[in-house]
């Protein structure tokens, strides 16, 4: 006769195991579709969210004039310190420009001495005068001085060079005339198309010409037509800064940077802060 009591205990264990394995299987079969459904919904949600966020970012970028209204830039006193959102490895702290005064002085004196030298060499091609002008800055070797004949040749060369320079000047005049034509052409084009591209090109042209108030005006127009374009913001801010409205320019750029996180904008902020524009 088998040990039935022990066998019965073994049977109970077997039964419990069997029930658990059946339950585990059932649970697995229930959870499997649930899990699949959950992960699918999560995926869809994530996808929708990212698409929505992208849209929102683009929506939130308001044109400059609105930014100026909401931020009340005109009333704000000059900024002492602007807190920018911190990003890893990126610093928007103001950079203090360091200028080597000695170097600057040396440069200036060099330029002056060169100018003097040129003037002297045009009027008089005397070796002693040349020697005087250079002896202050450069310790030249004696063998490097020009002979009388060479100086005569140089004089001829200088005359020729002056003629070349004159011809260049003429060319420059021609270029300015073409740039005026360019602005007119683009203006006409803008009137007919009303596209932000043309407005931006005009702003760039005016900026290059040094007409910063006009550049600001056209950048604003371009921005009204397309507020998501980095270039219109940058050009507007640069023009402002050039017109001496540094704080306004910074305020606008910072508010735009908060939304766009554009590296170009960040670089310009730093440049304006450093006074390197």
């Amino acid at each position: 006769m088998v040990n039935t009591r022990q066998l019965e205990k073994k049977w109970y264990k077997y039964k419990i195991k069997k029930i658990f394995s059946v339950l585990a299987l059932l649970l697995f079969l229930i959870l499997l579709p649930l899990g699949a459904y959950y992960s699918y919904t999560q995926y869809v949600e994530k996808k929708n969210k990212s698409a929505f966020e992208e849209k929102e970012v683009l929506k939130n970028i308001k044109p400059i004039n609105q930014v100026m209204k909401t931020e009340n830039i005109n009333k704000i006193e000059p900024i002492e310190r602007v807190e920018l959102p911190k990003k890893e490895g990126v610093s928007l702290e103001p950079v203090i420009p360091i200028i080597d005064m000695e170097k600057e002085e040396r440069k200036k004196s060099n330029v002056i001495s060169h100018k003097k030298h040129h003037v002297v060499s045009r009027k008089k091609t005397h070796p002693t005068s040349h020697k005087k002008s250079t002896s202050k800055h450069v310790k030249a070797k004696r063998s490097a001085y020009l002979t009388k004949n060479e100086l005569v040749k140089n004089k001829n060369k200088l005359v020729k060079n002056n003629n070349v320079l004159d011809s260049r000047k003429l060319k420059k005049i021609n270029m300015t005339t073409t740039s005026v034509n360019y602005i007119e052409t683009i203006k006409k084009k803008f009137i007919s198309t009303k596209k932000p591209r043309e407005a931006l090109l005009l702003a760039k042209a005016y900026y290059a010409k040094g007409a910063y108030s006009k550049a600001e005006e056209w950048a604003l127009r371009a921005n009204k037509l397309n507020s998501t374009s980095d270039d219109s913001w940058l050009l507007f801010a640069k023009s402002k800064a050039k017109l001496g409205k540094r704080d306004e320019a910074l305020k606008i750029l910072i508010s735009y940077y908060r939304k766009s996180h554009s590296s170009k904008v960040k670089a310009l902020i730093e440049k304006i802060k450093a006074g390197r524009l």
């Binding site: 006769m1 088998v2 039935t4 066998l7 019965e8 073994k10 049977w11 264990k13 077997y14 039964k15 195991k17």
Partner: protein, 270 residues
């Protein structure tokens, strides 16, 4: 105090005797083929199948049914020694005991058999032939060539491939009867007939098809395994009948006991 379950379990003790034989559709069919093959001029008949498929039972049944009408001899256990095998053949044919310290000369036995041609037809039933040596099988072949002695041999299915492959067997085995495990229907008949035959009709009636299906699943319909399984089941029943009778019912065959027996025999792993 005697238990009815003790009596039932003893029905399933694995023995080869004529009373244990249960007539089923498959066994009856095989039996008829076997009997008809004896009337044909065949030298050898091969009965093969897996262990526990009823080969020995069929040979035993054949022997008991025909021993009065034919000259038939049954070697239920394999005789591994050649000397002993020849002595048994000699004693069966001659009806005389071999004197002590004497041995049978095989050539003399062959000549004796050849002289009996047309006069006698002797049938030898050899069980578990896979255990016989090749030399002995060769002698069996030579004796069957005399057409006086006819051999009905049983082989395990796993072994037969090797044996049948040999040339001397290929040409001599004329009839092959394959025995296989019972299907669910046959197994149900087997269990019920066995119990009813021994007067346990009420217990036979509580074993339903689903119980037989479960038994068949565990034993694959092998008769030897089924006997062992049912023996264990009724052994557990006996224990509960004696010690905790409230745990068993006369009206329903216990699934718990079926599983306990399966655990006991290693069909299930706890």
């Amino acid at each position: 105090m005697s238990s009815k379950f003790e009596a039932i379990k003893n029905i399933f003790v694995d023995t080869v005797d004529k009373d244990s034989y249960v007539e089923l559709e498959s066994t009856t069919y095989n039996y008829k083929i076997l009997v008809s093959s004896l009337d044909k001029p065949l030298k050898m008949v091969l009965l093969f199948g897996k262990p526990g498929t009823g080969k020995s039972m069929l040979l035993n049944k054949l022997y008991h049914n025909l021993k009065k009408s034919r000259e038939i001899h049954y070697f239920d256990a394999p005789i591994l020694s050649e000397k002993e095998f020849l002595r048994r053949i000699y004693e069966s044919i001659s009806g005389q005991n071999l004197p002590h310290n004497m041995r049978v000369n095989f050539d003399g036995l062959l000549r004796f058999c050849q002289n009996l041609k047309g006069k006698r037809e002797i049938v030898f039933l050899l069980d578990e032939c896979q255990l016989y040596s090749e030399a002995l099988m060769e002698k069996i072949r030579l004796l069957s060539d005399t057409r006086v002695i006819k051999f009905i041999i049983t082989l395990h299915k796993t072994e037969n491939e090797d044996v049948i492959a040999k040339e001397h067997f290929k040409t001599r085995i004329w009839e092959v009867i394959e025995m296989s495990n019972a299907n669910e229907y046959d197994l149900e008949r087997y269990i019920q007939k066995k119990m009813i035959k021994n007067g346990f009709m009420e217990i036979a009636n509580i074993i339903h098809k689903k119980d037989v299906k479960y038994i068949h699943k565990q034993t694959n319909g092998n008769f030897r395994e089924t006997n062992k399984y049912l023996y264990t089941i009724f052994d557990i029943y006996e224990y509960y009948e004696r010690h905790e009778p409230h745990k068993i019912s006369d009206k329903k065959f216990s699934k718990k006991i079926l599983e306990m027996a399966a655990l006991r025999l290693g069909y299930l792993h706890g």
